[in-house]
């Protein structure tokens, strides 16, 4: 069995070992030189986070928000020292249009994030038919939790809007960590698999070139 390995040419083995070593050393300093952007809805404002990677935020990068439906520019602003930017949900988004949020940091860096119109359906907006919603909410409350009737400070039963605000606040608090995780995932640099795959592609292409050259010559 071992003779197979002994017979194999020595130089490729050395080369592979060197590449493996290189790849093993790499993950520590791996950072994408791509600009990352991540946006989410929090209450009635849109939060944007931009970074070159997790540890280096984009400072005073230019954020431009477009209406995704008709390409109209809605607003502009700069990120703060932590790479954050937030703006109130624009009327266009309430009207059922998506948003295209673009970050430009100079030197040819640019990226964008699209927020679909459906993301804004939960935003605090005047409901189309408050009466119907209130009725629905009321009956749901009656059946689900008859022993704990939700009361506002004024003593009257909570309206649908109150319930929606409470639920939204609770969801924002609970979903915060998940959003941060998601942002970190979006902002993560290329993985080891991509790196090794790319090296494999390059060596494979060179090998194919040699093969066809050898058959012709």
């Amino acid at each position: 069995m071992n003779t197979v390995f002994l017979l194999a040419p020595r130089r490729p083995a050395v080369m592979l070992a060197a590449l493996a070593l290189l790849a093993a050393l790499l993950p520590a300093p791996v950072q994408a030189h791509r600009i990352n952007i991540f946006a989410w809805l929090e209450g009635d404002s849109v939060m944007v986070e931009c970074g070159f990677n997790r540890s280096s935020p984009v400072r005073s990068g230019l954020i431009t928000v477009f209406d995704d439906a008709n390409g109209k520019e809605l607003l502009q602003g700069h990120t703060d020292d932590k790479g954050h930017f937030s703006f109130p949900v624009p009327p266009a988004a309430r009207a059922g249009h998506g948003l295209r949020i673009q970050i430009a940091a100079g030197e040819g860096h640019r990226n964008e994030w699209i927020m679909d119109a459906s993301e804004f359906s939960g935003a605090d907006a005047p409901a189309a038919s408050p009466m119907e919603k209130a009725e629905g909410a009321g009956s749901a409350r009656d059946t689900a939790a008859p022993s704990a009737p939700a009361q506002t400070q004024a003593g009257r039963p909570a309206t649908a809007d109150d319930v929606r605000a409470i639920v939204n606040a609770a969801l924002d608090a609970k979903l915060g960590p998940i959003r941060r995780d998601l942002a970190a995932q979006v902002n993560a640099g290329p993985g080891l698999r991509d790196i090794i795959g790319g090296i494999g592609w390059i060596l494979g292409l060179a090998g194919m070139g040699l093969y066809f050259r050898g058959r012709r010559g």
Binding site: M15, G106, R213
Partner: protein, 203 residues
């Protein structure tokens, strides 16, 4: 120094693609096919090099290694860099498909110029010290020229040539130093271990 998609105008994109195609054609014509594996390995080095970051105060600049690729490959640097950039665009989302031509030309042409500079210095200053100086200059000049060419490509955007060139050159000063040293040590090492690699680089 990867320019992202959606920044450059179609004219600049088209010009970059045409120039990159011409450079790649010359590179493939001049390529000695016995050295194809060397080209592949250097292409892989360029591919990985952009993941290694040099801390630069406020910004983040990564190694480019185009000077090294140029010094060792000459015109064959073009196909090597084009391949590596294509894979970076596919796997890392650095740059992009439409800007591939512009990026390949800025990196590839600066490599070729670095190679001419390296050859020129060796011509007037033979000997081990001259080779060292030439390799350092080739490595550092490759980065500087890449910055200048990238700024030239950005000259037609709102950023303007001067701002872009200043930003890029300042951000890449440490990278120039690092790459000059890397190229110097690599060239000295290869010349000691496998001198035949340089004989083949004449074309």
């Amino acid at each position: 120094m990867h320019i992202a998609e959606g920044i450059l105008s179609p004219v600049v994109l088209g010009a970059g693609a045409a120039l990159a195609a011409a450079g790649t054609a010359i590179g493939l014509r001049k390529l000695d096919y016995d050295r194809l594996m060397t080209v592949g390995i250097l292409s892989a080095a360029f591919f990985v090099g952009s993941l290694i970051h040099v801390p630069v105060g406020f910004s983040s600049a990564h190694l480019i290694l185009n000077g090294l690729v140029g010094v060792l490959l000459g015109w064959a640097a073009f196909p090597a860099i084009l391949t590596a950039l294509l894979l970076q665009a596919v796997l890392f989302q650095f740059g992009g498909f439409t800007v591939l031509g512009v990026n390949a030309f800025t990196m590839g042409f600066s490599s070729v110029l670095a190679w001419y500079c390296y050859r020129g210095i060796i011509g007037i200053w033979p000997g081990p010290t001259g080779i060292r100086a030439a390799a350092f200059c080739g490595g550092a000049l490759g980065v500087a020229l890449a910055a200048a060419l990238t700024a030239l490509a950005l000259a037609f955007t709102s950023e303007g040539f001067q701002t872009a060139a200043q930003l890029l050159l300042w951000a890449h000063l440490p990278v120039m130093l690092a790459e000059g040293l890397i190229t110097m040590f690599t060239v000295v090492f290869i010349q000691r271990v496998r001198p035949e690699m340089f004989q083949a680089a004449r074309a």
